[in-house]
């Protein structure tokens, strides 16, 4: 648990860089994906070495929140299209990206019971997917930053066949639009043939964020 706390500390620095628009989306996603393949301490050490590489970048376009189905290497089509459309992803809640681990487990009670309780709370609070419970918390986590103007719109990515996210998109869209926030849902798969139609939607969506 102490190792994961250190790892979370490093990862949260990368997330901060992303919030400031200094960690390009594709790099962030690839680094996050690599977490699944490497030893956690080695990953953490490599991340600390990589952090100074990210510096100030010219901001391309409006800031958006990317939500929905996970995006895993090498299926980076959506990420390329988001960058091509000039959309700046500053936040996301993808289980393959910012939510690869939802924070560390913090504890005061070092007894076995206390440690187990801290671990359980950490995993329950994650709620990375509509198949888990307490979907309201995840939806609120998407909406709350909009009230603070931390992003201009939500891009909701649905992988074909991922029906829980597909169904949840209806709730999220209704709630966001009732509050006056922007939302677009894009359903796609691993093929590249729909790239142009998706890009058309993203470019048009970008123009709505400027209005």
């Amino acid at each position: 648990m102490r190792i994961y706390q250190k790892t979370w500390h490093s990862f949260s620095k990368l997330i901060d860089l992303k919030r400031m628009g200094q960690a390009p989306l594709i790099w962030f996603m690839v680094i996050s994906n690599s977490f699944f393949f490497d030893d956690v301490e080695k990953w953490s050490a490599a991340l600390e070495k990589a952090l100074p590489v990210f510096g100030a970048r010219e901001k391309k376009g409006p800031d958006i929140f990317l939500a929905g189905s996970p995006i895993f290497f090498p299926n980076l089509k959506m990420l390329h299209l988001l960058e091509e459309a000039g959309l700046n992803v500053v936040m996301d809640d993808l289980c393959s990206s910012e939510r690869i681990f939802p924070g560390a487990a913090y504890f005061d009670d070092v007894s076995e019971h206390g440690l187990l309780k801290a671990l359980a709370q950490r995993y329950h609070q994650g709620c990375l997917c509509p198949t888990f419970s307490d979907n309201d918390r995840r939806i609120n986590n998407i909406i709350a930053p909009a009230h603070k103007d931390l992003y201009q719109g939500v891009v909701f990515h649905v992988l074909k066949g991922c029906h829980p996210f597909d169904l949840e998109s209806l709730t999220l869209e209704a709630r966001l639009k009732d509050l006056g926030f922007k939302f677009i849902k894009l359903e796609t798969d691993y093929t590249s043939e729909d790239s142009q139609t998706l890009l058309t939607r993203l470019e048009a969506y970008r123009s709505t964020l400027a209005n």
């Binding site: 639009k177 359903e187 729909d194 142009q196 139609t197 058309t200 939607r201 470019e203 048009a204 209005n211």
Partner: protein, 257 residues
């Protein structure tokens, strides 16, 4: 000098306008085929030649549509949704608030604010139902030119309720209706109403027009039978401008990005 070209490279047709002082001086469309770039450049040459211009008289070529990136001669590209919004806002003198665009393979509803900027939009997703392709298939099965659909639709008293707007399943449904002796006029009127219902569902409550004028554009908007069915379903007036297939190409010439 002072001429601008807008090219809309769509899935079914390539549309081109030659514009001077924001007025269309020349327009033409050709069916889309392999080699879109050369087809588009032939249109450009045709315009230059027929209007007695030189290539140097063209200040800007802007491309839009799914094939926009294929045109290397284009100085600018713009997505077709933005181009459509810009075009209709200008041509309606700012009165348009909702655009229903029926293309060859897609269907769009675009909401505009009072400044003509897009406030929201919805598109059909990977489905030809209710698009130009749907009408083309229907025309083929009914062995009736598309241009006659409007007139024939008016001859039917009641529309037929079609169960499917799916291009694939509609084929078998139309064939079985014809075999039962159902008049073509009723089938065509039914087709118009099923597409109009689909558009109404796409509008939903959220994108339904709350104020301002509604405009229909794209190729199928030239079908008066479809227009009548849409007004029946929406219970609202829907306007169609002259040359509705060229509003997107025209809007592209107004693009500043």
């Amino acid at each position: 000098m002072g001429y601008k070209i807008g090219l809309d490279l769509g899935s079914t047709a390539i549309k081109m306008v030659l514009v001077k002082n924001n007025e269309i001086a020349w327009s033409r469309k050709v069916p889309t085929a392999p080699g879109q770039e050369s087809l588009a450049m032939e249109l450009v040459k045709g315009a230059v030649s027929e209007c007695g211009l030189a290539e140097s008289d063209i200040d800007q070529i802007t491309a839009t549509g799914y094939g926009k990136k294929l045109l290397t001669a284009a100085g600018k590209t713009v997505d077709e949704i933005s181009a459509n919004a810009q075009g209709l806002h200008w041509l309606s003198e700012g009165r348009c608030r909702t655009i229903i665009n029926i293309g060859g393979q897609d269907l769009k509803v675009i909401n505009l604010n009072e400044h003509g900027r897009i406030s929201d939009f919805k598109m059909n997703d990977k489905c030809a139902a209710g698009t130009g392709r749907f009408f083309e298939q229907a025309a083929r099965i009914l062995d009736t030119p598309l241009e006659q659909f409007g007139e024939m639709s008016k001859m039917a008293d009641e529309p037929l309720e079609l169960n499917s707007t799916c291009v694939v399943f509609a084929e078998s449904e139309i064939v079985s209706l014809l075999a039962k002796g159902v008049p073509k006029e009723r089938i065509i009127k039914g087709l118009h109403h099923s597409v109009a219902r689909r558009i109404t569902h796409l509008l939903g409550n959220r994108n339904a027009p709350k104020s301002g004028d509604i405009y229909l554009d794209g190729g199928p908007s030239q079908n008066p039978g479809l227009l009548e069915a849409l007004e029946d379903e929406l219970l609202l007036e829907v306007k169609v401008l002259p040359n509705p297939q060229f509003t997107v190409a025209f809007g592209a010439t107004l693009s500043v990005n």
